[in-house]
């Protein structure tokens, strides 16, 4: 927790915040070993970043005087289209992408996504939100990513994907495709990443037909969570 992310319910008034949740109180006491007078980095959810002076800390409450004065880090210019990973990998991947600065994620079904993954409790909005918040707290960011779901590949690819691709550079990451992953781009990008086991040929063809460029990260086949971080870090 490198930033205390203040949600609407944490504000006592315009300049003071009170935390009551056990997770953050525990972290303040046990990791930060915070004491009244300490200044910590705080941010308002979807707003500015600044400093919070700890006024009091008890077992049930932490009070801060808050001054917000700067923008959070710039987001990555990317919309991530990610085949739904298995639940534990989804949890970690959401935290990574939130920390790395992705602001739009569409979790999509593809042939090699197990149907049971769509029933996982990890897809409940409050679970997803919790992972995204952890990523923001880690990276000192405030802007919550938006997560969308596409549970059927064909209607998604045929009816909605062409409009999403308008005015964006589409990149399809898949082992064996023609082009090495570009480095240091700043284009608005729609980045598609497959499931464990990869996209099937039909899906690859569909993306390429729509105008996606096929890219690869070399001979090595990476786990989805490793590939997502590696692709984002190399691209932007």
């Amino acid at each position: 927790m490198n930033l205390i992310l203040l949600q609407p319910e944490d504000w006592a008034n315009d300049t003071h915040a009170c935390l009551h949740d056990p997770r953050r109180l525990h972290h303040l006491r046990e990791v930060h070993r915070a004491a009244p007078g300490d200044c910590l980095t705080v941010g308002a959810l979807d707003g500015l970043i600044g400093r919070g002076e700890l006024l009091s800390l008890t077992d049930t409450e932490a009070q801060f005087r808050v001054t917000l004065d700067r923008e959070p880090p710039a987001p990555l210019p990317v919309h991530l289209l990610l085949a739904l990973p298995r639940p534990r990998m989804l949890a970690r991947t959401l935290e990574h992408v939130s920390a790395l600065g992705v602001k739009r994620v569409t979790l999509m079904h593809t042939r090699r996504v197990e149907k049971s993954y769509w029933q996982s409790p990890e897809l409940k909005p409050e679970k997803i939100r919790q992972h995204l918040l952890l990523g923001l707290e880690q990276a000192r960011d405030t802007r919550l990513p938006e997560i969308a779901f596409e549970t059927r590949f064909k209607p998604f690819a045929e009816d909605r994907l062409p409009a999403m691709l308008a005015n964006q550079r589409g990149l399809l990451a898949h082992p064996g495709l023609a082009q090495a992953c570009p480095r240091g781009i700043s284009d608005a990008t729609l980045l598609a990443i497959g499931p464990e086991g990869g996209f099937v040929d039909y899906e690859v063809e569909k993306f390429l037909e729509l105008g996606f460029e096929g890219i690869h990260l070399g001979e090595r086949i990476l786990r989805v969570e490793t590939a997502v971080t590696a692709l984002l870090s190399r691209l932007f």
Copy 2:
């Protein structure tokens, strides 16, 4: 398991291998749904890669006819100096770096490494080896990384680090340092990455004095496992 990594005890003779361990037999049956006649990617530990034709598969044994004919993927030209992460993160990080092609890792003590981490069962040679093997199987590589330990920072930094740095480019990754992480380098590199909470000032100064270049990944503070993958992917 994108490659079946044959260890010395798996070979029946020069051209045939027999697996007996439950983990890989389970994977062959349940994930690959392999049947006699199937051809799978195999590799010899620290050797070549090729094809294995499955001759038989029972609950206790899988027999392959093996043809090895090509080199594994090129390693990254990097020696990673990593402050010992907490045990669960160590396990995942070893798997990531093995999959990404790192062949030398030194796990070192720094001020903000909790001393108890050095007592973790995750540091037992057989546990470390298991994580590294999983990374190789994932990435279709065969060459096992070497792992070394430096349990005291000062004697390491003063007595051994200068010689390690000879003929290599030293890079120290730490938030707030001067230079943005370079992209697409091919230099032989000694890359130092700190613990959760970072290096302390004394440690940063020590590295810089020795000739390390200080680099950063931007404003965002990443978890160690995310930072390791992000740095390796951007650098090489």
